[in-house]
Amino acid sequence: MVFVWNIDVDPVGSLLWAITLIGLSGLPGLLLKRPGPGQILSVGITVCAALWGMAGALRILNGVPAKTYQLDWPLPFGPCELSVDPLSALFLLPLLLAALCCSLYGLAYLPAASQPAVEKRVTLFSGLLLASMALVLVARHGVLLLMAWEIMALSSWLLLMTDQQSLQVQRAGTVYLLATHAGTTALFVLFSLLKGETGSFAFPAAHSLALGSMVTLVMLVAALIGFGAKAGIMPLHIWLPGAHANAPSHASALMSGIMLKVGIYGIIRTVSFFQQLPVWFGWLVLLLGAVSAITGIALASAQRDLKRLLACSSIENIGIICIGLGMALVGLQSGNRVLAVLGLSGAFIHIINHALFKPLLFLGSGAIIHATGTRQIDRMGGLSRILPRTAPLFLVGSLAICGLPPLNGFVGELFLYFGAFSDGMFSDGMFSDLPLIGFVAPILALVGGLAVITFVKLYGAVFLGVARDPATAHGHEAPLAMLLPMGLLAGLCLIGGFGAPLLLQLVAPAVIQYVGVSPQLFAQIADAVPLQQISLVNGLLVAGMLVVWLIWRFLVQRAPVAASSTWGCGYLAPTSRMQYTGSAFSELVTGLISGLVGAQGQLSGLSGAFPASSRFVTVTTERILDQMIIPSLRGADWCLAWLRRMQHGHLHLYILYIFATLFVLMVWSQP
């Protein structure tokens, strides 16, 4: 394994070096006895490597020709290539940014001084997780990808198990471990079939596979299941809320902001192998995206756990990305390149945007947990007083994730709306009539409306009003090392909104390469989306706010100003417990979507003429999990109970299984 190190010439080399450094950044800490220096060293290495790698990724997006590296390994899987094309670079960029932000954040969130043992683990596995995700993105070989995939799954699992004493964490960890390996099984099917067809584990060139319909079908479905389970597409999302809620906040940020996208990358990469796709595949991805978006945000609106809510909203965002991807695939299959460009640009921009605002929100939730010691939204309130810097940053993230102007979330959704509206608009012979695509617009609108409910609830119940539980009222603001990454991400959200054309520039090379259009045609199609005007109107909006604010201030200052308590409609003894809680806020919408989620109330001990004090508890129930997936797993459990006899815990017999399997395979493969 020899890399030529020449930073001036080769961006791929610098990226590979950055990945290696990040992966090994946790090691020095293990060797040092004193806690502290190891963490600082690791953060230093990660930040420098991330900056170096980002420069490389940007240069590849700028069109610097990328070399291909050959990994000379002694394993019997054939030569293994590593390479970075614009598609990989597009995914590497947010990954490295998240590496920078999250490692810096960890310095204050999990300081080595107070938690030496935990810190060492978290630092090591964060580095491994980042490097393995990056390796998935640069691998051009099935076996290497699977190896990286497995390291990614295990290191994220180990990160999730940081607080291993907690029963909740153990449960979430078990579900995650099972789900991720079930997904990996599908990937084994995918890459074995690939090897069977092409004779090698190496990835075929783009659009080079022309397969029989049956093999293509199995490969596509395997990719959708295997990569889709990691991306958290409905109904393969069951592991996601628990895993993302229970990991340390900066690990949640990595898992939610980046790891889900690696699943999306897998789908996109696999699809690119094929010359021709069945027409239904694009519609299937679109449909799964729509279902994920609506059910994801519906689930999120009913959550009371801060991080669980954010995790469910990740399902929604993955859904939006899949809607864009589905549009692009439908466009490609039906020769509608306008739709392909608009859909793919929308999906890619949303991938970048989500990798900005979701880590921002997860890091913000870490600051909230740091201050209050709880994840229960209904116990918080009025936190903007004790977190005066976190609050506006969290507000930026909340507005961005709702897709509201003037922030970056609006830009990605704008492309998807254009895709939905585009049908029949560009009548210069390069489209086929797809009227059904129009139905995407109302779906996106509904999702946007639900997102506003969810995030008004989140921001309002957490930061506004007064504390509902005195125990949460005495926290303190997060230290600078936590605020700085959040500020950076929030700043990028603002830049994405006010400089919308920049976002398009970032994704353009990947879209051009993937759709196979000329840059001129791409520019022609993308110019239809008025990004410059949007930036200008965003500026106008801010100017308008300023003018209205000045007028208001002038009017207020002319007349007396008084302070008083909140008007309680005549009630004179208000308490903070009277406030609308987060659950109360979403109760109305939960009632409308009770087919998906519900809140079951249990009232106990109320009887007789003079009832004693009683208790009312409500639990959020998820219908898809409780009524579809768990019963079907029970059924599977019942059918496969006899297999459990093989699981007896005797190590030597397990080794025997491996030997027997190998022996049978050897006999079978003999001619």
Binding site: L414, G448, V548
Partner: protein, 303 residues
Amino acid sequence: MMMSILFHVLLLLLMPPLLLGVINKTKAAFAGRLGAPYFQPYYDLVKLFRKGSVFSSTTTWVFRAGPVVTLAATLVAALLVPLGNHPAIISFNGDMILFAYLFGLARFFTTSAALDTGSPFEGMGAAREVTFACLVEPTLFFILITLARMSKSLSLTPMLLYPSPTVWGEAGAAMLLLVGALFIALLAENCRIPFDDPNTHLELTMIHEVMVLDHSGPAFGLILYGAALKLFVLGAVFVNLALPFKTGNLLIDWALFVVAMLFLAVLIGVVESVMARLRMVRIPQLLVAATILSAFAMLLIVR
């Protein structure tokens, strides 16, 4: 050219409160009262702007930003809509999406400001506002996408100036469905009867009014003006669809538009006089019905 733009902006800024005056006068006529003068909403605004302010001690800057951001977003949205036969001040492809999302931004800040007071009533109003608005959103987009397909354009100005007597003749059924759905959306978005009673006196039954209980003085004036502006803007969209007569003469078209807007205000007043407010549980059903109406219109157009 400059004159017409100036007139457009002045109409946009000055006319909205008059609609409220006309609505109230109509309701008074139905009730057999003389009613407040047509210009009463203007007097109210002037009075509010000169009053002092009271701020609850639980509130933060979000409470103060609420009315400001809401009005600014509504103003920018207003610039995207053509009035009568005159094109919008700002017009570009895709402005209708921005139009819808600006109202989302306004809603985010109105409801956040309500939650900032820590009042149970305002929380209740905010929850209702976001939930019902979420159900109106798909209706609005079904209407927009149907209009976009009919007019083969992606901008509000050509879209809304497209309907003409010939269009009504050819696609009358779809247009009728659109106008019906848009009227329901208009009433719901502006919190009029049958969705919300602006004159109700019981906080438990309010939606919009209860959210702004704690705002006072100039801030409340901004809120009332913003609400009137929103009614005017959505009303202009409605009038453009429902009344497709254009003469080509700018002055006559302006006059037609103003008369039509006043007629719309009378219509809303009549609806408010002859109908009772719906029970809270019925509101989502009516909104979903409106969504289905607009989806029908789209099916008729794309088939």
